[in-house]
Amino acid sequence: MTTYEADGITLEQVREFVWEIPREGGMNAPARVLASEALLDEISDDKTLQQLRNATHLPGVRKYAVCMPDGHQGYGFPVGGVAAIDAEHGCISPGAIGYDINCLTADTDVLLSHGRSLPIAELRDRFESEEAVVPTGDDLVESGIRLFTESGTKPVYEVETETGRTLQATADHPVRTDDGMVDVRDLEAGDTVAVHPFEGIEHEQPEEFTILSPEDFKGESRQLVRALEERDLLPLTSTDRKLPYLLKMVGYLLGDGAFAGNGQTWFYGDPEELEAIRDDVRALGFKPSRIYERERNHETDGNTFETTEYSFTVTARSLRKAFVELGVPEQPKVESGFTTPEYLGRLADWQKALFYAAYFGTEMNAPAAQHDKNRYRPKVSQTRTESTADAGRQFLEDLREFLGDVGIEANAIEEFETDSNRDHRTVRLRVGIKNDSVNLVRFFSRVGYRYNPEKQRKALKSVQYLRAKEREISRRERIASEAQALADGGTAVSELRDGFDINDRFVERSVWSGRSGRPQPGSDFPDYDEFCSETEVKEDGTIQSEVVSIEAVGEKPVYDIGVTHDAHAFLADGFVVSNCGVRMVKTNLTYDDVRGREAELVDALFANVPTGLGGGGVFEGTKGDIEDILEGGVEWALEEGYAVPGDLDHCEDEGRRPDADPSAVSQKAKDRGKNQVGSLGSGNHFLEVQRVTDVYRDDVASEFGLERDQIVVLIHCGSRGLGHQVCTDYLREIEQAHAGLLDRLPDKELAAAPAGSQLAEAYYGAMCAAINFAWVNRQLITHQTRRVFGKVFDEDPEALGMDLLYDVAHNIGKKEVHDLGDERGEVYLHRKGATRAFPAGREEVPPAYRGVGQPVLIPGSMGAGSYVLRGGENSLAETFGSTAHGAGRLMSRTQAKQEFWGEDVMDDLRDHNQVYVKAQSGATVAEEAPGVYKDVDEVVRVSDALGIGDRVARTYPVCNIKG
C-alpha cells in the first residue's frame, strides 16, 4: 500500500487522490484527504492534518471527515474540512423540573424512563444504560444519556418556586421560562419557570429472577413460543428491558381490557389513552390495530343515552397467552378470582408503581376539588362474587402495602354488600388514598396515573395546587405562632397588626381566640377549580410556576448529563463561522465591451461598494431592520427593492433559511451588523469583474448561461461582524455550559454544543439567521454592482442581463440527509471552507439547475482566475456532496507582507495581466498576492478527476476591489 508520512501522521492511499488517516485513539471516524501528491505536500506543511484528525474526536462524526484539495490550517477545524455529524445523538436533559440539566448539584433528582428517578450524581456509573425523560414542549420523550460529567465545585444558587420546590444550579444554568431559556443569574422573583411536578420513584435494581420461562408455555405451539422468543419476551426476567411495558399493560387490562377469539386482546379507553398504549404495544414488537369507534346505546332507569366507545385490538395468540401467564384473567373479572400477580411482590417499587399506576389510570377516579362537604379522595373499587372476594381483598391489601412502602397512606379496605349480579351475591371492595395534602401530593407525584393523559394532567395540577396551598398554610402557621409569642412577651396587638404581611383579623385571632387546627389559606388564595382553570399543563406535562426567591447557597460540586434526543446532533461551533460564500452575476457584455474602461469600472465599483474596515454598508439599519434581514434573507431585499424575483430562484435555499431565529442572535451581534449590511470587509473577500476564458462542458455551460469572453461578476464575502459575533458568543457560552465535553476534545476551538441542548438549538437558529444576513449582504453588493454597470455602460441594468447565476455558501452547517456508509441518516453537515456540490437530481438543487447539477463557484487568487463547476455525480458518495472552495492559502499573511509590496503587486497585475485592482489597504493586496495561494488549477483538477465537482468554465479577473 502506498503511504504518505507527514509529521507523525501516516496517510494510506485508498486510490488516486484519496488518502486516509485510519481511525485510532479518540477518533470517532477515519479522516480522508482528497489531494494529489503535490497538494498533499502543501497540505501537510502546516497543522491541517492534525486539525482534521482532531475534528474526528467530535462526538457523532460519521463515516469519515474529509479535507478538500484546497485544505489548509484554520482554527479548530481545518479550512477545507467537511464533517457529517450524526443527527440522532445530542445532549439535552431537562429532568424532573423541565430544565436543561447541565450544572446541577449532586442531589438533584433526574427523572428517568418508566417513572424512575435518581440523584444526578448517582448516574455516574450507569448513565450509559439509562434513559432520561425530556420535555420537548410537545411531549415527554425518553432518551438515552450520552454524557456524564463532573464539573468540579462551583458557586450554586437555589431557586425556589411558589410551590416550595427548589432547584440548586449554577448561575449559567438555563431554565425554561415564558420567554424561552433564561440563565439562573438572570432570573428574578416573580418570573415564571417551567416545572414538571411528577417526581417518580427512586430507581433500584430488582432482584434477578425469571418471570416467564418456556415451561410456562408447554403445550403451546412452537410458533407461539417462537413469536415471544423473537421479541425477547421469553424467557422474561425481572430485569428485562421490555418488562415495564408488560407491567403497565397487565395493570391496564385488569381494569379495562378483554380477550376475544382468534388471539385478540382488546383495550378500551379514550383515544388519547389508547394511543399511549398502542405505542407500548409497538415497543413490545407487536402491531396494534387502528382505533375503532362505535356508538353504544345505554339504558339506565328507562332513559336511553348514546356514548361513543373507542377500542383497539392486538391480534397475537402469543401476546395474549403471555398476558394470561402474567395474571390477566381469561374469564369475566368479577368471577375470575384474579389477584395480585405472584411475581409483582418481588419486583422493585418503581416496577410495581407502573403496574398500579396503569390500573389506577383505568379504575381510579380523577383528581377533583377538596370541598368541605365533598371530601374528595382518589379511590378504586372492585366488585367480586362471594367466592372471589378473598382474592379481591388480597389484591387491595397488596396495593395498600405497596403504597405504604413508597410513603403513601391508604385507608383500610371498605366493603359494601351489593346484589346487582343476577347469578351471584356480590360484594364491593374499596380502597381510598388518605386525603391530606401531603399524602395526596406524594401519591400524585410518585405514582399517579399511567396511560390516562387527562387524569395525569389533573394530577399534575393538583400537585401544584396542593403544594402552593401547603406553603401558604405553613406561612400562616409561622405568623400565628410568632404573633402569639410576641403577644405573650407583652407586645401590644395594635403593634402586631402592622408587623406581619397578613390581614389584621388573622393576627387578632392568632393572639386572642386561638384557632383549632391549622389555619386556612386566606380568602385571596384561589380555590382548586379556579387554580385549575388558570393553570395550563403543557403537552409535555410542564406547568408554569412563579419564582419566589433565588439565593446563593455556597460552592458545591456540580454535574452535567447530556441525553440523546430526536433529530439533534452535536453542533460544533468554531468551524462554521461567517457563512462566507460566493455569488456570480452574469452580464451580456463581452470582454471587448469592457476593454479600455477597466479603470473607470474599478473606480466606480470601489466608490459604490463599501470595503475594508469601517467602510459602512450599502444600507444602514435599525435594530428592527436587522431583525427583518435575519428573518427574511433575500426576501427582505426583494421587498426593499434591492433584488429582482430571479435572484431568489438562483440562490441556495431560495435566499432564505427557514430555521433562522433572530432572537437567538445577541444584541451585540446586531449592533455590529447595523452599519455593515452590504459591505465586503477585508481579508480574502473581494468583488471581481471577470471574463470567461475557457468552457469545458458546453452543455452545462449553456444551461448556466455562460460562454467564452462573457463578462461576469464574482462576489465573495460573508456575514461580516454580525456572523463573527454570533460565533464568538456561542463559542463562549458553549465553553461555559459544556466544559465537560470540551475538556475531552483535543482543541478548545472545537467547542461543540451537544445537540438538542437549548444552546445547540439556539446556535443553529442564530447561524441560520446569520446565513440570511450573509445573503442579504451579497445581495446589496449585487444591487450596487448592477447600478454601477448601468452607469458605466449607460444602459438599464436589466438590459445588461445581470442575472444571478448562483449564490452558495462555503462556511456553513446544515441539516442534510446523507448516506453514512451503513445507513442513511440526517446529519449536521459542516462545511468549513468547502462548497456544497450536489449533483443533478438532488432535491435541494434549484429547479433551474436540477437537470445538470448545482453550480459551484471556486474563487481563485487575483492572478490565477476562478472556476465554475457543477456538482459531480460522485460527490454524494465521496464528500457528502461537497468540493473545494478556493485555492487555499500557502503563505501566511505576515510572510506575504514581507515578500510582496501592495503597490508592486497592483502594478504587476495591471501591466502584465491586465487586471485592475483597487483596495482600501495596500497591505491587503500584498497579503492576497497571487503567489500566496495554492495552484487553483491543481485543486480543480483533483475535484474534476474525483467527479465531486466537474469543471464547467474558467474565468479570469478583469477588475478586482477588496478591503
Binding site: H72, Y75, L613, G614, G681, G721, H724, K748, M891
Partner: protein, 136 residues
C-alpha cells in the same frame, strides 16, 4: 511590554510579553491593532470599558472580543491599550481603556474575530507571555 505578529497560514497570530498580566493584556491588544493597521496616527478620544469572565484565558478572549465590538460600534480603531486585571471570588475582571482613532483618519483592515486556537497565557520567569490567533 512588547508584541510580535507571527505567521499563521490563513490568519494572524500575536505573541506578546509583559512584566505583569496587565501589560501582557494591553500588549496583545496593541498587537491586534497592529494586525489591522501598519501605522497608527495620533488623535482620537480615549474610551474605557470593563469585562468579566470565569477565568484568565476567557478574560483575555472576552477582552479582545469586546475591543472588536467597540471598534465596530464606535467606528474607531482601538490603540494604545491599557488594562488592569484583577480577580475576586473566582470572577476575573479587566478594567480597560483605549484610544479610539476614527476610521476616517486611518487606513486599516478588518480583523474578524479572536480565537481560542493555540491560545497561551502564562506566567514565565520574566513576567507574562501570551499567544493569540486572530481570524482575519
Amino acid at each position: 511590554m512588547s508584541y510580535v505578529l507571527r505567521d499563521h497560514t490563513a490568519d494572524v497570530a500575536v505573541e506578546a510579553a509583559g512584566a505583569t498580566i496587565d501589560e501582557v493584556f494591553a500588549a496583545v491588544a496593541d498587537g491586534m491593532a497592529a494586525a489591522m493597521c501598519e501605522s497608527v496616527p495620533g488623535g482620537g478620544e480615549r474610551f474605557a470599558f470593563s469585562v468579566t469572565a470565569e477565568g484568565r484565558e476567557p478574560l483575555l478572549f472576552d477582552y479582545l472580543d469586546e475591543l472588536i465590538y467597540e471598534r465596530d460600534v464606535r467606528r474607531v480603531l482601538p490603540v494604545d491599550n491599557r488594562a488592569s486585571v484583577s480577580e475576586a471570588d473566582g470572577v476575573w475582571r479587566v478594567e480597560a481603556s483605549a484610544r479610539g482613532v476614527g476610521f476616517d483618519d486611518v487606513s486599516a483592515r478588518d480583523l474578524k474575530a479572536v480565537t481560542y486556537s493555540e491560545m497561551d497565557l502564562s506566567e514565565t520567569d520574566d513576567g507574562w507571555y501570551a499567544y493569540v490567533v486572530f481570524d482575519v
